[in-house]
Structure formats: C-alpha cells, structure tokens
Symmetry: C2
Subunit: 215 residues, 2 copies
Amino acid sequence: MRRAQALRDALEQDIVTGKLRPGDRLDEQSLAARFEVSRTPIREALMQLASTGLVELQARRGAFVASLSFRDVVERFEVMAALEGMCGALAARRITEPMQNELEKAHEACVREASQENADAYYYANERFHHIIYEACQNAFLAEQAQQLHARLKPYRRLQLRARSRVANSLAEHQGIVDAIRAGDSDRAERLLREHILIQGERLADFIASFDRAA
Amino acid sequence: MRRAQALRDALEQDIVTGKLRPGDRLDEQSLAARFEVSRTPIREALMQLASTGLVELQARRGAFVASLSFRDVVERFEVMAALEGMCGALAARRITEPMQNELEKAHEACVREASQENADAYYYANERFHHIIYEACQNAFLAEQAQQLHARLKPYRRLQLRARSRVANSLAEHQGIVDAIRAGDSDRAERLLREHILIQGERLADFIASFDRAA
DNA sequence: AAGCCAATTCTTGTATACAAGAGCGTTGAC
DNA sequence: GTCAACGCTCTTGTATACAAGAATTGGCTT
C-alpha cells in the first residue's frame, strides 16, 4: 500500500512548513496513532527522512527534527554554491534552445513578481528559475543533488529575501547568469552562479548576526 | 542491538568488493537466513543502502544491487570533480600546518607505493591523500559528501588505475595540487583537483570504450 | 534537604505473524 | 498446438508481540 512513502511526504511537509520545529521529538507511537498506522511504516518514513538530513536519528533515543547549527547551514550553502556553479557551467555548454527559452521566461517571471512585492510569489518564481538551470545541465545526478540540497536550505533561504535590496540585487544577478548561459560562457556562468549562492549565505549570516544582537 | 548498522556495513562491503554484483537480487528472506536475523533489520539495512545509491528498491519487487549505466558513472565523476575542486579551493585557504604536513606525507607515501608496483597499496595511499584534502577544507558537510561519493565510485576508479602511465600522471598531478595548497592558491588548487578527477572519468571512458570494442 | 542509587516504566529495536500484490505455471478451450 | 485466463505461490509491505536499553521518579542514605 506504499503507506510509508505518503507518511514521508506528510512529515516532510510538516517539517518544511514549520509545523514541526527543529529539535521536536518524533515519537513513533504518537505518529503511528496520528496517522492510524502501525509503527513499522512510521519507522521507514523516519529513516528516509534521516537520509535526507531532515530528521536526526539517535540510537535508542529516537528521532528528532534536525536542527542545523549556524555553521551547518553555512557549510551547506558553500556546497550549494559549488553544485550550482557546476550546473551553470554545464548548462552554458549544453543547454538546449527550448530550455534557454524557458529559462528566460522564468527570469521574466521573477522580474514581474518582484515588482508585485509578493514575497511568496517571488520565491516560487525564483525557485523555478533555479530548477531550470539544474535540469539544463544535462546531468541527472547533479540535478538531483542540487535539488535535494536546495530543498533542504529552503527555510533558510526565505529568511534573507526579506531585505528589499536583496531582491533587486538577486534579479540583477539572474540577468547576468542568463546572459552568460546564452553566450555559452561556462566560466562566467559558473562564477556568477557560485557568487549568487555565496551571497545568500552571507546575507543569511548578516541576518542571523543581527538577530543575535537583538536578542 | 544495533544489528541493522552492522548488516549495512557487511552488505556494503560485499557490494563494493564485488561479491555481490550489480543487478543481483537481494532477497530479504535469504539475507535474513544468512545473517541469522529477522527480516526487519535486513529491511532497515537495505533502505539505508538505497539512500546512498548502492541498492535500488523497486516497489513490491524487492531490492537489487544498483547497476550504474556508463552515463550514470560519468555524471557522478562530474559531480565528484566539482566537490573535490571545492575541497581543494577551501583547503588552500584554510588548511592547518599539521594537516599540510600530513598531506605531504601522504603524497610521499603515494610516490613510494607507486614505485613498488603494488596496485592495491597505491590505491590505499591515494585514497588517504584525497581524504586528507576532504578533511582539510574545514567543511564537515562537504567532506562527508565528497567521501560518500568517493566511496560510491571506488569500483570504477580502480579500473582506470591499471594503465601504467595513469599512475605516473596521477602522481604529477598530486604534486601540483600539494604545491597549490601550500601556496594558498585556491583557484589553482581547485582547477588542478577538478581536472585530476575529470581525467579519471575520461580514462574510465576510454577503458570502457576499448572494452566494448573488444566484446 | 540534597544527592545518589535502584526499580519501574516508557521507548526503541527485533522477531514473528498476517495481508496483499506480483509473477509464474498450469490447464483448458479454441 | 497455441494462447489466454485462472489460481497458486512467493515476496514484499504492514501489524503486532516481545526484548532490551534509557530515562525518570521515588526512596533511601548521608
């Protein structure tokens, strides 16, 4: 009945949306009761989530919603930068004409949404822009890895979009990336994409630092 | 009793060493009988292996030793190149003095083993060299990702070491990498390491191509 | 009164029993 | 003789029962 898969998605949703918060204990029995299944599929779902890093399993102590330290997050942004840079470099060499068109349309959508001042809509347009680059690199494994890490960093990426100026800068960076890919300039595409991500990490660091000072 | 973990390691060993071959069916009952445990920890181990990509789970059809297509392997070498490049770039900026010394000793060990014509010993010396670079980047997540992919590519990397000239070239490349890291030249370290890996992918492609022609 | 030890309880980890779907073989009909 | 359909078996997926370790609480000692 493939229940475990559905459970995995449900729990993932709860974690990403913040319904379950970092550090929360994930008791097998309670979850089993809540979803009206036995502990077996619950355990499967938890292990799958652990493999993606959303959940932390402590031996004989149970499962907890993973809480990334500041350092953990910065480290992941660094890796994300490397992966996206590689995607960009490969995309610049390998992108197909239809994909290039899609990329430019996605960029235009970002510009449109940014002017509407709708943070959520802009976020999704931005997400689509990046996903197209992942696909365009013609390396399914790389695309999958990039997408997985992208998803993992989702809650942290949203934080730093709140700064108004960041959106404007982000759009300018996107334009440069689109241009580099269209020109087939893989070195420039890689460098721009990598910086685009690293800047996000730095902005996040600023945000957290200011938060810490306020507290 | 944490049996699942031990089972995972045992199966992983069997797969990496070739005792279990790509495409082999992993029957839960047989494995349970062989390891004298119930199916439950076997299933846990299989799912963990699936998350690392060593095993492929087909719904309601069971587990199989994952067989990577030629394309899959090339894709993974591309990603490995990006990750190792990043490790090198960060290591050049962040490596500590003791780590630098360890790296140079590891390189010397490679040179020594290469002259002995002992393929296995060289392989392990080479592995240690790369692991030191992973650790030296001071990014635990990146190091973990690199190590995991490195392990996954192990069987394929060994293939291309058979060409004698490859070992000599590999040593020369290592020397360049050591120098770049010592000099703190992150761009050069990144480029050299990336090429070092991409060359392996290409040599492997040559090897497979020649194998296909012979067949 | 405070701290430590022990016992009980609660939770995870494993075994076994049961359900359901997929594959395969056999048999019957054309 | 061949093809198709039905049923059986074998395997996975889920539920439940049992074992073992961890935490907490209560009592005892200092």
